[in-house]
């Protein structure tokens, strides 16, 4: 897409409706237990981004502030093995990545994430989550619990992988 065409597309997309509706937000596995009202509140704090195939969404070591939910498309999670970037997981619609930066202020991005196809992602920022936790502690606790559970599941997968119990792990923490 030419630079002017992309600029025009960005301007046109402003007129489109907001992000996802509450029902669609609850279709993400980590937020499936939110009520409709809670999903609506959370929805106010999400920002949609579009990435083109091959675009680096974020790189290892970068300052990170947000978690991304994949609304559409596929991404590749890559780790640096000292020589090249090795793909360790592929994530698709409904998955999420970038949770480490959401939870830890001082830790930069731990992996590189690249869009494999044209992607639409929803970004949830740490600042927004802090804001939600102050304004609506019940929702804040629920969101933190959901993200922590998913993170614990990923950690458990990695532990099993190290122990040699499973060869293919799920998505690593990003």
């Amino acid at each position: 897409m030419s630079a002017f065409a992309e600029l025009w597309s960005s301007l046109k997309s402003v007129r489109g409706a907001g992000l996802v509706d509450a029902q669609a937000l609850r279709s993400f596995s980590i937020f499936s237990d939110l009520s409709r009202q809670q999903a609506e509140k959370l929805n106010d704090h999400l920002h949609e981004r579009r990435f083109q195939a091959g675009e680096v969404i974020f790189d290892r070591g970068q300052n990170g502030h947000a978690l991304y939910l994949i609304r559409a498309g596929d991404v590749s999670v890559q780790y640096w093995d000292g020589k090249t970037d090795q793909e360790v997981a592929r994530l698709a619609t409904g998955d999420f990545f970038g949770e480490v930066a959401l939870l830890c202020d001082e830790v930069g991005r731990t992996a590189k994430v690249v869009a494999l196809t044209e992607c639409r992602c929803l970004a949830l920022f740490r600042e927004s989550l802090n804001h939600i936790s102050i304004r609506d502690p019940a929702l804040g606790v629920l969101v933190y619990r959901d993200i922590s559970s998913a993170l614990a599941q990923r950690l458990s997968n990695i532990t099993k992988s190290i122990d040699g119990e499973v060869k293919v792990v799920g998505a690593p923490a990003t």
Binding site: L11, R15, H47, F51, G108, V114, A123
Partner: protein, 352 residues
Amino acid sequence: MPQQLELARPQQDSLKLWFLAGFTALIFSVFFLTPALRPSSLLAIVNVLILSIPVQFMERKGISRVWASLLLLTLGGLFVGVCVTMGASGFGAQWNTLSAQIPQIQAGLAKKAEAFRDQLSLLLGVSIPINVEAQILVALSILQKKTFAAAPEFASAFLGALFFAPIFTFFLLKDSRSLKKLVIQLLPNRYFESFMVIGTRAGATLFMYLQAKLLEALVVGAMVFVGLSIIGAPYAFLFGLIAGVTNVLPYIGPVLGAIPALVIIGVNRDSSHLLGLSSLVFVGANIIDAIYIFPVFVARWVNLSPLTLLASVAVGQVVYGVIGMLIAVPIAACIKIIFQETVRTLYNERVE
């Protein structure tokens, strides 16, 4: 293919950034090149910061953004109208009494000054050939003329703000989300996170600063009003109001707020202990403000050192006068946030 796309991005990103910079420059140039619109614009921004949360709440209850904005503006207008009407009756009565006493105040001021001249003559052993009363009358008449000359400009600015501020507020409230979306859409992906963090923190700082200053003005105004009422000083409500309003200006505000009260009380009453007590009320209110209210509610929320606060207010005054002093602190806080985030990004990139 992916490699080609990555190579193509800088061109697309810079076009978006140029468009965004042009758009921002256009908005700022309208603000800076039309002085008549500045008070209305500032007032509208303050209104939007206050009303955006209830508008969001009403939207969640199913009311459209347009209707929510209209409803809140109408309710806000009614509330301000009632407050002004109630305050105006007290203010008006005290203002009329004060206006009627202006000749007495002038005479009192001249008497005090002449007494001071005589004492000084005695002390120095020489006569000072100055007609103090005439000099004071000339000075006051110049001040009066200047005030009258500035009155139409002030009245037009005030009426303009009264008319334009609600209109600006309505359109900003209605379209703020689209504007925000436009800016976010135009941000290249690689700057998206940093910009959002800076924007969110700067917005929160502005909101907290505004809250803190309003609270500070209210508390200082109330303390002066209660203190002056207790000691039996005249025009307690009027002087409390002046102290509250001028307190919005950092550092010189409290002094400006105290001067008219102390001059009028000093020349209007023979009893010097009332002047002493009134001074104590102002000093006490400002000490409480300086020790408790300002550090706890303002400095901590904007997270700036006292030296930075002082320097930013001084620079604001030099660059943009009274409005510069008002907006200097939040702007300094935003610059600090931008600086911190930029340093953090550069440092992290270098470490990696």
